[in-house]
């Protein structure tokens, strides 16, 4: 469904991503784990059109994406929940959700998806008229995810959804991720919380300083000794 080949990303003299290949098949949860600065976020940004790769190709459903604008990529069905949630703090919860559907023209479908988001995150319905900046961290993460779902994406890119959340909320967010996936959305998940990420992932890639050093099913990596030592504290 989504195929990244020989991707390179450079920021001036900094070579952040050095030729990686990743494949995401329909219906999977694929996770990309690795330490801070490994280049994970850069890959997601390249996928959603926020940064232009210096080399390599990204194909989605057989179409090349890397020359396309962020709008076109979003229209094609890829939604990105950025690191740090990046909600519009001064706007209401409802306005944030409406912005998620900015590209869509089907009023009925938008209404239906808004109901679905409210059903999945009832707290957002209670707070719909409140400024988004007044929400707690966990609620903001839910809003960011709800906002992305309002675009009715085929693939959801999640960047560090567990960042800064209490352990109980991390569990909740991951069970929501599993549920979104079960309802038919393919997920590419970037995480530093390797244990949680591997527990939900169909397949996983491990990144170190711009390169993929290991890949396999979630279970394989969770059982691997190297991964346990380096990322799972065991």
């Amino acid at each position: 469904m989504l195929k990244i080949e020989n991707l390179h990303i450079k920021y001036g003299a900094i070579h952040a991503v050095k030729g990686i290949d990743i494949e995401v098949n329909e219906g999977e949860i694929v996770t990309l784990i690795g330490a801070n600065g490994a280049g994970k976020t850069s890959i997601l940004k390249a996928l959603s059109g926020l940064v232009k790769p210096s080399e390599g190709t990204i194909t989605y459903d057989g179409k090349v994406l890397n020359k396309k604008s962020a709008q076109d990529i979003m229209k094609a069905g890829i939604s990105h929940v950025p690191e740090g949630r990046r909600i519009f703090a001064d706007m209401t919860v409802l306005e944030n959700l409406e912005l998620g559907a900015y590209q869509r023209k089907d009023k009925e479908g938008i209404k239906k998806d808004l109901e679905a988001v409210y059903e999945r995150f009832p707290i957002l319905k209670d707070r719909s008229k409140q400024a988004a900046g007044t929400l707690s961290g966990g609620e903001q993460q839910m809003l960011a995810m709800g906002r992305a779902l309002m675009a009715n994406p085929k693939i959801l890119l999640l960047d560090e959804p567990s960042m800064g959340l209490a352990p109980i909320l991390v569990k909740e967010i991951f069970s929501i991720i599993k549920d979104i996936n079960a309802k038919g959305t393919t997920i590419l998940l970037v995480e530093q919380n390797a244990r949680m990420a591997l527990s939900v992932a169909t397949r996983a890639y491990v990144m170190e300083t711009g390169k993929i050093v290991m890949s396999g099913t979630g279970q394989e990596l969770a059982d691997s000794e190297e991964i346990q030592k380096a990322y799972l504290g065991g």
Partner: protein, 293 residues
């Protein structure tokens, strides 16, 4: 008391003009963090379009204002595309200097084509009438300026708060990258912001042309500066702040002249502003923003 009320009436109409110009400053600052020093010259351009429309085309007030708004809109969008867009990711000082350059360019291009002398709108453009009641004088010009400005500001608020493009403007001004992830076309949204702000400045230019009946190529400098200060005073980036700031400066200025400080009215006004900004540095309606590190 009569002096006070009289100056209040005068101040409200002058203040409306400052407010209209200040809105363009504040919206552009809100969306690309640029202090567009050429904005006062868009107002000057509007006044000249008004001069042309009323003199050569013989148009009435509203068609003239409409034409000025449309032409200023086009000029604002072009300036953004040609001068500011290539510098979007440059340092802020680069864009600021460019804005000053654009300002000088507009001023002296107009001087080249129209000459440096003062022009006046035709006498029958919108004949002035003065009404007197309870010792207070109010002219039809003042009423027209005040009402038109209020209507334009209401229209602007509706666009920003209620329409899809308005939501996009607010989203881009909070976080351009996140807005792009929503599928918002950031470039078009920025162009639209320039278009709106420039249209308001164009309207202000025509109204001032009518009110003072004297326009010249450098007329945008001082009102432009004052409108910029009005925007800062109200809280830069905040639309109601610009309206409030504009009216506040207009009223303070006329009150200062009314009470015998006309020679030093600007000094009086800005002294008050400095004091207020010392107490509340983010402006009247500004919030204290914490920068994330």
């Amino acid at each position: 008391m009569t002096i006070f009320l009289q100056q209040l009436i005068n101040g409200l109409s002058v203040g409306s003009i400052f407010a209209l110009i200040a809105l363009g400053y504040t919206m552009v600052y809100g969306i690309i963090k640029l202090i567009n020093f050429a904005h006062g010259d868009i107002y000057m351009l509007g006044a000249y379009v008004g001069f042309f429309a009323s003199t050569s085309l013989g148009l009435g007030f509203f068609p003239t204002m409409l034409l000025a708004m449309v032409i200023c809109m086009v000029a604002g969008v072009l300036i953004e595309k040609i001068a500011y867009k290539p510098l979007r990711h440059a340092s802020r000082i680069t864009s600021l200097i460019t804005a000053i350059g654009v300002s000088l360019f507009l001023e002296y291009a107009m001087m080249y084509f129209m000459g440096p002398n003062i022009r006046t709108y035709p006498a029958d453009f919108f004949p002035r009438e003065v009404y007197t009641f309870a010792g207070l004088q109010i002219s039809n010009h003042q009423i027209l300026i005040f009402v038109t400005s209020i209507l334009l500001m209401i229209a602007l608020q509706l666009i920003v708060k209620k329409t899809k493009i308005g939501k996009a403007m607010r989203a881009v001004s909070t976080d351009p990258d996140a807005a792009a992830l929503m599928g918002i076309n950031v470039n078009n949204t920025i162009s639209f912001t320039f278009a709106l702000g420039s249209a308001l400045a164009g309207a202000a230019g025509v109204m001032i042309g009518m009110y003072y009946n004297s326009i010249d190529p450098l007329m945008g400098m001082i009102p432009g500066l004052k409108a910029f200060i009005a925007a800062v005073f109200g809280g830069i980036g905040i639309i109601p702040g610009a309206m409030l700031g504009g009216e506040a400066i207009g009223i303070l200025e006329t009150l200062a002249s009314g009470y015998g400080f006309s020679m030093i009215k600007d000094a009086v006004v800005y002294l008050i502003l400095i004091v207020i900004l010392i107490i509340k540095p983010s402006g009247l309606l500004g919030k204290n923003v914490k920068e994330k590190v």
